[in-house]
Amino acid sequence: MDKEMIRRCTEAMNEGRMSRRKWLQLMLASGLSMSTISAMLANTGVLVGRADAATPLRVFNVPKFTGFVYFELAKAGGEKACKELGAQQIYIGTTTADVEGQVHVLQNIVPQRPDCIVIAALDINAPVPTLKQARRRGAIVVTFDADVAPAGRDLFINMAPFDVQARAMLESALANAPDGGKAIWIAPTPTVANFISQKKAIDDLIAKDPKFKSIQFVDTLYANDDADKSYSIGTSAMQAHPDLKLFISGSGISTPAINKAIQDTDRVGKVFATGFALPSTMKTYLSSGTCKQYALWSPYKYGYMATYFAILLKSGKIKNAEGVAVDVPTIGSRTIEEGSVADLSSMLFFSKGHDDFDTATPMT
């Protein structure tokens, strides 16, 4: 270490005091790099919605994380609603499902005095203080896909009441394995609120409706919404339960990954993985018969409805009160229920031949 120190200090000595010229040179170089970075940012189109006060209502769409096709579709839906109602959507979010990251994004939105914030929250509590601040400054906050504590938002658009979700998943399960059998429930983590409620609704439905009695859950596994983890959990679980029939999951990431595991360990036809998933990720499995049917709501309509309600609330066309009904184009009439929650509930079933949003068969 000493030789290194001597070398560096002699180097330091002969460079010693920064001559005026060298100091300017350093300044120029650093300044240059700073300006190139900001210039790059300014015009790469990444810079979305350069805000100035005069434009119409500004709606900020904040997904759980960017780069996931589910939220890209919701963004497109939101875009359409804004165009119809003369507003401007700004889509901004973190790249990873990082709670703080999302709160930082919100903290950067608040000073821009947003008119509406449409958000899929990563945590029930973390965004609340910042969302409260936004609402104090007159912003309407509508949550979708995952709710926050009521104090943090004006309205929550639920994809569907949990019993509707449960029915959609169980019917898909039977479509795959008409005479039911052993099943495993896959959720991201043991504590995510809507997955807990989904499972409870499923258990109630199995107890209540004889049609689903043949499905018995033998285990619950957690895949952390990670494709790789779901794959390895799926393969391991199939070993652990040789007579397993069904994987049911409400996570759009786990369902396709386990289908791939089924394909790779050539158990097609013996074991099925269904529940909610995205068409783009399930096309191959529908065509290869690995999975006969799964369900999902349309994220496009989901984004559209959430933004539609947000703009109406902000522009005062409707009041945020229980029982207020709104006729949402292409979706139908939806009412704000108690606790200011409204349901999208336009479930779709996807099967071979009906494998994307426009050809999917709506659930009755």
Binding site: D2, M5, I6, C9, T10, A12, M13
Partner: protein
């Protein structure tokens, strides 16, 4: 071109052209003239000894010829052709290699890999031909009688064995013209030394010139063909070995009367030898049976207040290790240390400092100073605690302490906030001295205090040491500079190979006596 054993190289002995000829070679390091216009020749196929005291310029000459340093002026001729080597690799390719005292090898790899690193024999398709490499390595090791297995891990080798690996590497790369061995026998056992000499003789018979740099005069007697003696960077003589006996060589190496010590330097010549102090205080430091396995054993001596005990010996005799063990930097395997009569229990530098024992290390920049810190910061480093109150440093007190000592020791610097790295060698040494004096120690151990500093500062340091002794400090002065030992030491302890081989009072301490005690070997027992 790997020299196959048995063939004699062209330009061997007797064909007139010198294998190595050095003319007017000079080199100085910041004010210190290591070499002053040195010229001499070495014939091909000859074992040549390069002798001289510490600091006589031997190592500098070797480093220049072997490409580690570049001379200020003067020329180097190899087989009559002028050559200039800027890197060790260039010298190696020209057939010149130097083996230093601490060989530079790769501990995690085995002997063969270290020999052939970078020059491994390859198959046609470029992969290493391991079979041929290990055979060749076994051949070389056997040829050198190194008694090493080609697959032995270098981490497990002794210094001696590592040197054999370096020799094997030199031969593997076909280095067959000039081989410098810098203090090779310092760490060797007698049997290893014999083996080394057998190999050197065989290399010579094959036409390689070998230059031995060593102090071990008695070892070289029946080995060396010719001798060159350097003193204070100047060429004294080059003679055939037969013409000189050991005493004559010693006289040449050191033989200058005290008076004409440094021609033309009045203040040094005027230095009168220290008057033997009339009264001596009580024993401040006493060491009993101190030992460090494999380095030194049963070292016992006392140092009284007001006394300067000089510890002489050759490089690698273990004196620095003894000092560092006393100072608590390395734990001893046995022995006791008493400071002011009290036995010190678990020892570490901090504890010894609190007992008033200070140690000025030999490696000034590596262990004595922090080059990038200012003079003040370095000076107050050991006494920061004392000068502060409740842990908060007081710059005022630090500033005046360092200004006082800087003036006291006449450290030449613009301000005491100047980084130490910008000072000359002499001034840096004064800063380290000031650093220890500032804590007014009872016992002061100085390890090569005047090594590598200019003559003027050297005299000043001597004066400082003398005044400290008069003030009652007990001083242990470790030095390889014989005149310094003679002039400063009230008593002289000579250490060789980790053992005390002689204690001389001021009266019977002569250069010859010290030199022969210093080079007495453990077994030869002459």
């Amino acid at each position: 071109m790997i020299a196959t054993p048995g063939t004699v190289l062209e330009g061997s002995a007797g064909s007139g052209v010198a294998r190595l000829s050095v003319s007017q070679l000079s080199k100085s390091f910041g004010g210190i003239h290591a070499l002053r216009a040195v010229s001499f020749d070495i014939a091909p196929g000859e074992i040549h000894a390069l002798l001289g005291e510490n600091g006589a310029g031997k190592s500098t000459l070797v480093k220049i010829v072997s490409g580690l340093h570049v001379a200020d002026h003067g020329e180097v001729f190899l087989d009559g052709v002028p050559r200039l080597f800027r890197t060790p690799m260039e010298a190696r390719r020209a057939g010149v290699v130097a083996v230093y005292q601490d060989p530079k090898l790769f501990p995690h790899l085995d002997v063969t890999e270290n020999i052939f690193m970078g020059v491994q024999p390859l198959h046609r398709l470029g992969t290493i031909d391991r079979r041929r490499m290990y055979d060749r390595s076994a051949e070389l090791l056997c040829d050198l009688e190194a008694g090493l297995s080609p697959t032995a891990m270098v981490a497990g080798l002794s210094i001696g064995e590592m040197q054999f690996v370096e020799f094997a590497r030199a031969m593997a790369e076909g280095v067959d013209r000039l081989l410098f061995l810098d203090e090779p026998t310092a760490a060797l056992t007698p049997s290893e030394t014999e083996r080394l000499f057998r190999v050197v003789r065989r290399l010579r018979d094959r036409g390689t010139s070998i230059v031995f740099i060593s102090h071990r005069l008695e070892e070289l007697e029946d080995l060396v063909d010719s001798v060159t003696v350097l003193r204070d960077g100047q060429h004294v003589t080059t003679r055939a070995a037969a013409e000189l006996d050991e005493a004559a060589v010693v006289r040449l190496m050191v033989g200058r009367s005290i008076e004409d010590l440094y021609p033309g330097r009045t203040e040094l010549a005027a230095e009168t030898p220290r008057a033997v102090p009339s009264h001596l205080g009580e024993v401040r430091l006493s060491v009993r049976g101190l030992a460090q396995r494999g380095v030194f054993e049963n070292v016992s001596f006392d140092v009284r207040a007001g006394e300067v005990v000089a510890m002489a010996g050759l490089v690698g005799a273990g004196r620095s290790e003894i000092a560092q063990t006393i100072f608590g930097a390395t734990p001893p395997t046995s022995g006791q240390i008493f400071v002011d009569g009290k036995l010190t229990k678990v020892s570490n530098p901090r504890q010894m400092l609190s007992l008033g024992l200070a140690y000025l290390p030999e490696d000034r920049d590596g262990e004595g100073l922090i080059p990038r810190l200012s003079i003040m910061r370095n000076l107050v480093l050991p006494i920061m605690g004392r000068l502060s109150h409740f842990g908060v440093v007081s710059p005022a007190r630090e500033r005046d302490v360092s200004r006082r000592y800087a003036a006291d020791l006449q450290i030449k610097a613009q301000t005491i906030d100047q980084a130490v790295a910008t000072l000359s060698g002499g001034n840096r040494q004064k800063v380290v001295l000031a650093k220890w004096l500032a804590m007014n120690p009872g016992v002061l151990i100085l390890d090569e205090p005047t090594h590598g500093i200019d003559i003027g500062t050297k005299a000043h340091v001597h004066a400082i040491v003398r005044s400290l002794a008069e003030r009652g400090l007990a001083i242990l002065l470790i030095s390889s500079d014989l005149p310094e030992v003679l002039r400063m030491g009230d008593r002289v302890i000579v250490v060789a190979d980790g053992r005390i081989t002689g204690v001389f009072s001021r009266a019977d301490a002569t250069q010859e006596a010290i030199m022969s005690a210093a080079s007495r070997r453990r077994e030869l027992g002459r």
